[in-house]
């Protein structure tokens, strides 16, 4: 998503004296993109990669919605249906949302803390290029005997030990993506802790850096746990171990404990950087400083710590003892408190500001409004007896799409529109941006709101066919899904148009935007800050 074309990056005269240092991207397409160690180029690669994966996962989802448009089996058979649900989840979580946030981190962290680049520039290249073989394995797995894994994105044993070769490919893909995430996280932690501009204490650091610092620690903590779980599945499958096989002394439920010990922090890995983006966009368009900066930092940290002690709320129906159910219910309820604090702080930031509603702000307000609905359904699901009634129904599907699509994805859209003028040097098409917002938010709700009703009425998730009484809401959801999918092409059009040209953005196109990134030229010079700025 960059228009920093070769030989163009340092062409503007923004006060950066040219000396004999290497200041531009290497010549040649291959050297420029494949060998790059530049944080902005790598950020661009990450963002394009994740957008490609987003469209791929989206096509899988639309196939599911086409099958579910009416009762009966029409388009895919049940095996393929399960493969599609599974791969939709894996691709969206590991291929789209996580790499997209790493892309944002690459682009923004050095510019926000006044650094020239990321700490480990070569490892940065490696952590991106690992994603390509991983994604290829996932796509190839559709074409091996038995097809892609169909055990759900959670890959629960012993169903996952029953799968064909596609399961092994998925395990390897996740291993590689995990390695990539850990490298990315080490890089981010090191950069933030060591390369801040003089005077920028931790408590003066931009919120996006704070949320990513905490996210990176979460990733380092839990990605090895996932790797362990899926390695055990691998050895159960091929080397005669019985970690999850009761007949050999193992326990299928242990897989779920290990998986969700990774899986719940993973949920926050996918939302904390989104909180960071929103904490930049809202103050900029309210023309008012972020309300309660320090309480935002504490709230983010609390969410991260709590995320390690709530995992079994995904497992209330496995039959954990009453004491366990009560502990995990109370602990889960507590997460609502720091999350609530964040929402209150954003609204207090808007309060008595001087607001305008350009596309980034629209997405930010849309995020706060719709994400909070997902937060409320999360609170309802935290109540064990209600959860037992709604576990594995469409209510859960509605809940996590409200927090992941309206949460993570909308925040990323806000971030892209907010920083796109910085990245490309051009203003994007405001009219198309607004159209993208309204189409997304309306179709999103048409798709996912009826799923609450389906779940309450008892329709299970991951089924290719359903009772005819569920037909109408499913039809509405399918129509919404196609509308939502097509709306994303508007986004692609805006991006391409903005890269090609548009009104000059200037250093800071937003009246209220604060932060070091806005002191740089648009697009920024090849090595963002050659001399560290002084922060008071």
């Amino acid at each position: 998503m960059s228009a920093v074309l070769p030989g163009h990056g340092h062409a503007d005269d923004h006060g950066h004296g040219h000396d004999d240092h290497h200041h531009g991207p290497p010549a040649g397409y291959f050297m420029r993109w494949v060998m790059t160690t530049n944080h902005k180029d790598i950020g661009t690669l990450y963002l394009w990669f994740s957008f490609t994966m987003f469209l791929t996962g989206g096509v899988l989802a639309l196939t599911l919605r086409a099958e579910l448009f009416q009762p009966g089996l029409q388009i895919v058979n049940p095996e393929v249906f399960n493969q599609l649900t599974t791969m939709h989840g894996i691709i969206m979580v590991f291929g789209a949302i996580m790499p997209a946030f790493v892309g944002f981190a690459n682009w923004m962290i050095p510019m926000q803390i006044g650094a020239p680049d990321m700490a480990f520039a070569r490892m940065n290249n490696w952590s991106f290029w690992l994603l390509i073989p991983a994604a290829s394995l996932l796509i190839i797995s559709f074409f091996v005997p038995g097809g892609a894994t169909a055990a759900g994105w959670t890959l629960y044993a012993p169903l996952s030990t029953q799968m064909g070769m596609g399961m092994d490919l998925a395990i390897f893909a996740l291993h590689i993506m995990g390695a990539s995430s850990i490298m990315g996280s080490i890089n981010i932690v090191t950069t933030i802790l060591n390369m801040r501009a003089p005077g920028m204490t931790l408590m003066k650091m931009p919120m996006f850096c704070w949320t990513w610092l905490i996210t990176a620690y979460l990733l380092i903590a839990v990605m090895p746990v996932l790797a362990g779980a899926i390695t055990m599945v691998l050895t159960d499958r091929h080397f005669g171990t019985s970690f999850f096989n009761a007949a050999g002394g193992g326990d299928p439920v242990m897989y779920q404990h290990i998986f969700w010990f990774f899986g719940h922090p993973e949920v926050y890995i996918m939302i904390l950087p989104a909180f960071g983006i929103i904490s930049h966009v809202v103050p900029a368009f309210a023309r008012k400083p972020l309300f309660g900066y320090s309480s935002m930092v504490y709230a983010t940290s609390s969410i991260a710590i709590l995320s390690f002690i709530v995992w079994a709320h995904h497992m209330f129906t496995t039959g954990i003892p009453a004491a366990g159910q009560l502990f995990f219910m109370y602990a889960t309820m507590l997460i609502a408190i720091p999350t609530g604090v964040k929402v209150f702080n954003w609204i207090a930031t808007m309060w008595k500001g001087s607001m305008t509603f350009e596309t980034p702000m629209l997405f930010a307000v849309g995020f706060i409004f719709v994400f909070t609905m997902g937060g409320f359904t999360g609170l309802i699901l935290a109540v064990t007896p209600i959860d037992i009634q709604l576990q594995d129904t469409y209510y859960v599907v509605a809940h996590f799409h409200y927090v992941l699509v309206a949460g993570s994805l909308f925040a990323m859209f806000a971030g892209v529109y907010f920083w796109l003028p910085k990245w490309t040097g051009h203003m994007y098409d405001e009219g198309l941006g607004k159209l993208h917002f309204w189409a997304s938010v309306i179709f999103f709700n048409i798709t996912f709101f009826p799923m609450h009703f389906l779940g309450l009425a008892g329709m299970p998730r991951r089924v290719p066919d359903y009772a005819t009484q569920f037909a109408d809401f499913n039809a509405i959801a399918s129509v919404g899904a196609f509308g939502f999918g097509l709306s994303q092409l508007i986004f692609l059009a805006v991006i391409l148009k903005c890269i090609k040209g548009g009104a000059k953005a200037g250093d800071n196109p937003w009246e209220g935007a604060q932060g070091l990134e806005w002191t740089l030229a648009s697009p920024p010079p090849y090595h963002s800050f050659v001399t560290a700025p002084e922060v008071k």
């Binding site: 038995g146 629960y156 209150f344 109540v383 007896p385 299970p460 009484q469």
Partner: protein, 438 residues
């Protein structure tokens, strides 16, 4: 009261003669084209064409009326099922309470936000104030939500404990999840000893759209679980192969069935009638086709049902002195195969490789019979193949005979006596092993 027109009249696959002609024509065209492409691809495409043509012509066709399902979902149901047990009623109330509290908070919070969006905008000339901190406010909006969420959890605590209390049950039933059906054994209380397997009874034609869908489409079974009203029923759950989940929304019951482990739940239905649910944990390709139906009857009807079941059970027992011929075993074996094996190995014997290997021409059914006997009795470690020792010697001999003669297979055939001997040898071995344990 219909708040908006019934959309299902447009989207349900309503089939009449005109549709069938159109669909048949398209299907023929697809099949013709299919000579040059892989069969599976053309079938998928034909299905798509079928669906598309159904959609286009559906509004012209007569409407297929969808009605509420008894004990299952209502048409466009918006809320939880009408509760049939005390616990389901508690869950219903908890949910309603949570929804009201959440809605009030939602209105308060977003009322403030939208007021601010309306009033504090630049286009209305509002000047930004620069305040950005208030310890008092931060404390207030930390403490008040803490109190609210703790209260929410506290209200639910009693129900959590009630759901876990499976003591003093009148009837205990074991439910076993198989890929892809449920097996039931009445273990304790009136009806003890009754045992049956419960399969989906919705016909394939309704699923494929070649026959109109019935009122209980997808949530109907051949053998329902029958229980008496107002009696505490404890359901013990386990599974044979992968994790399944047993749920009846009207009872507020959902519990995973875990292979190799035992879990339990309970319900006391206060209402007579049928209550429906389905498997709620992804368990493989037929996961969506594993319904559960509980038929709650009066005490008198229950006693009558138990007597009938016992009679049927006695009639089903094979005469232990009967000598079975190979042909008799083959005929019997086909039925056993259809009830136990067909989901994985398929009626064609071609399986669904690689998870479910083919039997047609396989070494297993053409080579020495002892291997096959051992695998049927004990299952195969590390594969989806479960043990089938719950079948009788006659049934096992029959199904082995069938698989060794069907689809052009030519394997040696076992006798009932050999099965009996193998089972006895297995049992002796187990006793020996058990004795060796310190």
């Amino acid at each position: 009261m219909k708040p908006f027109p019934n959309l299902s009249t447009f989207v349900s696959p309503a089939v009449n003669t005109k549709d069938i002609c159109v669909i048949f024509f398209i299907y023929e065209v697809m099949m013709f084209a299919g000579n040059h492409v892989k069969h599976a691809v053309s079938r998928g495409a034909a299905r798509f064409a079928l669906a598309a043509s159904g959609l286009l012509t559906a509004p012209l066709a007569f409407a297929q009326k969808t009605v509420d399902m008894q004990g299952g979902p209502a048409v466009r149901q918006l809320n939880l099922h009408a509760p049939a047990t005390k616990i389901a009623a508690d869950i219903y109330d908890l949910h309603t309470g949570m929804l009201i509290v959440c809605t009030l908070i939602f209105i308060a919070v977003f009322g403030a936000m939208f007021y601010s969006i309306y009033a504090h905008r630049k286009s209305k000339g509002h000047k930004a104030e620069q305040f950005h901190e208030s310890l008092a406010v931060e404390i207030a909006w930390t403490v008040i939500p803490t109190i609210i969420v703790i209260l929410m959890a506290a209200f639910a605590t009693k129900t959590v404990l009630a759901m876990k209390d499976t003591s003093n049950a009148d009837i205990t039933i074991k439910a076993t999840g198989y890929q892809w059906k449920w097996g039931y054994d009445y273990l304790k209380g009136e009806g003890e000893g009754i045992s049956f397997v419960s399969n989906r009874s919705t016909p394939k034609e309704q699923i494929d759209g070649t026959a109109p869908k019935g009122e209980n489409y997808m949530l109907e079974v051949d053998n329902e679980v029958v229980v008496p009203v107002n009696k505490k029923v404890r359901v013990i759950l386990t599974a044979q192969d992968v994790i399944h989940a047993w749920m009846i929304p009207s009872f507020g019951v959902k519990q995973d069935a875990i292979p190799g482990f035992i879990r339990d739940v309970h319900f006391t239905s206060l209402k007579i009638g049928k209550f429906r649910g389905q498997c709620a944990e992804l368990c493989g390709k037929e996961h969506g086709f594993m319904p559960i139906v509980v038929n709650v009857v009066s005490d008198a009807d229950y006693t009558k049902w138990v007597a009938e079941e016992k009679k049927k059970l006695a009639a089903k027992q094979d005469d232990p002195n009967k000598v079975w011929t190979a042909d008799e075993l083959k005929v019997r074996g086909e039925k056993v195969y259809a009830a136990n094996c067909v989901a994985c190995h398929q009626a064609t014997g071609k399986g669904v490789p690689p998870a479910f290997p083919p039997l047609e021409g396989a070494k297993m059914v053409n080579g020495p019979k002892d291997n096959q006997i051992a695998i049927l009795l004990n299952g195969r470690q590390g594969s989806a193949m479960a043990a089938f020792k719950q079948l009788s010697d006659v049934e096992l001999a029959a199904v082995i005979t069938y698989t060794r003669t069907a689809w052009g297979n030519k394997g040696e055939m076992p006798s009932v006596a050999e099965l009996k001997a193998a089972r006895a040898w297995d049992a002796a071995k187990m006793t020996q092993l058990a004795a060796k344990q310190p």
